[in-house]
Symmetry: C2
Subunit: 268 residues, 2 copies
Amino acid sequence: MFEKIISEKNQKIKYLKKLYSKRGRREKGKLVLEGYRIIEEALKSDTVFEQMYMSPDFFNSSEGQFLKEKFLNKENTGNILIVDKKILDKIADTVSPQGVIAVVNEIKYETGDLFKEKGLLLLLDRIQDPGNMGTIIRTAVAAGLDGIIILKGSVDIYNQKVLRATMGAVFKIPLLQGLALEEFFELMDRSNYRLLCTDLTAERYYYQEEYKRPLIIAIGNEANGLDERLLQRSDYRVKIPITDRIESLNAAVAAGVIIYKLTEREWK
Amino acid sequence: MFEKIISEKNQKIKYLKKLYSKRGRREKGKLVLEGYRIIEEALKSDTVFEQMYMSPDFFNSSEGQFLKEKFLNKENTGNILIVDKKILDKIADTVSPQGVIAVVNEIKYETGDLFKEKGLLLLLDRIQDPGNMGTIIRTAVAAGLDGIIILKGSVDIYNQKVLRATMGAVFKIPLLQGLALEEFFELMDRSNYRLLCTDLTAERYYYQEEYKRPLIIAIGNEANGLDERLLQRSDYRVKIPITDRIESLNAAVAAGVIIYKLTEREWK
């Protein structure tokens, strides 16, 4: 149940290192979580834990105790590996990973997990900044959206910076990642979802439309906005107004303004 | 007009280093801008430039040419100093400051620059994250607010990470920084401004109120929200609803949702 690792050349350390690349994660269908907070959030969700790596100090701390208990109460978990803190620090992306790293199964969602009869989904087109990506996922969960579709060319949502910015929200919403635009259009064709595009050159303001469900809200790249093919296919094309003193809104703020406008009458 | 600096021990290099501390900046009443984009934005504003430091490569680039011209067309500017790129990289906060750093005068605003008859102001209470701070300033400019009051205990807005996240917006809005809460209340006492506080325990939702101007929108610390004394003094106390799957919204997103709700009927 507990296993002590002394050497950096241990197979389980090599395995962990591999999962720090996007390719390694995809091959194994796993992801890496760093630090107490996100691991605690993941333990509350249906996420399947493979193993946890802890420094001896963390293992013996009250936080370590808490995570251990939750971990051992979960089904299908592997071992807790006790590893020298220097080795952990060297592997981790975070400057101070707090002495704990977990490996969990990537959660696989199906189209049916996202598309609902009166649903409200988010489509992200080439969002680049990890902080923006994480904050948008957090906002979608906060507002109760049904799912997020992330097009190819966006930052990997299992990047540590994204995971941190989600504050755990990444485990609380169905996500489809890495779709090509054509694949997305095929999904649209097989559904009755409408498409809302935000675009600075649109004529109507976002608060002037009556939007019908089911609906997908599209948010575009920080510098270039949405792909022209999305704009052409949109059912609603609206802008968030800004003064001429600035070029654009931050993408996560724009997403928040639109998402909250769309949901504001639904809270009870 | 142009001056070449070879040594790190040059007085003007020592002076620049000093301005990289909050204390140094305050003593001299100056700030430091790194990189093409923010300097370009500052050159468009009323900001008074003291001097610019450029690497030889940047000096000879088309971007360098562009900044030089704008700089020389401004009044009261000092010299352009050509400095070895290694020296610049060593001083700069940014990993790649693009070979250009400018020293400009801090813009001093008076209370009268912010408080207007029907005005809409933002109050920031101990915002800690530089990215959030910069994004909130950018959003306030985008929405056309009249000014921002920043209470003591918030991150310094002249920190490079904040400046970068503002995307130049920091030069486009009156700002009062470093006020104690008592000083803020004195300003309130001398005005007829109302105070809107966001608070997760409030009973009413943000979109249910009819807000009267002049108004100050208060946004609180990322982890702890607003100071209790602000909540007690509020004229409107409202919440942005969130699902129980998450603890809170990101502070910059929350600010965006409220700010845009308050201004949405004013665009023409």
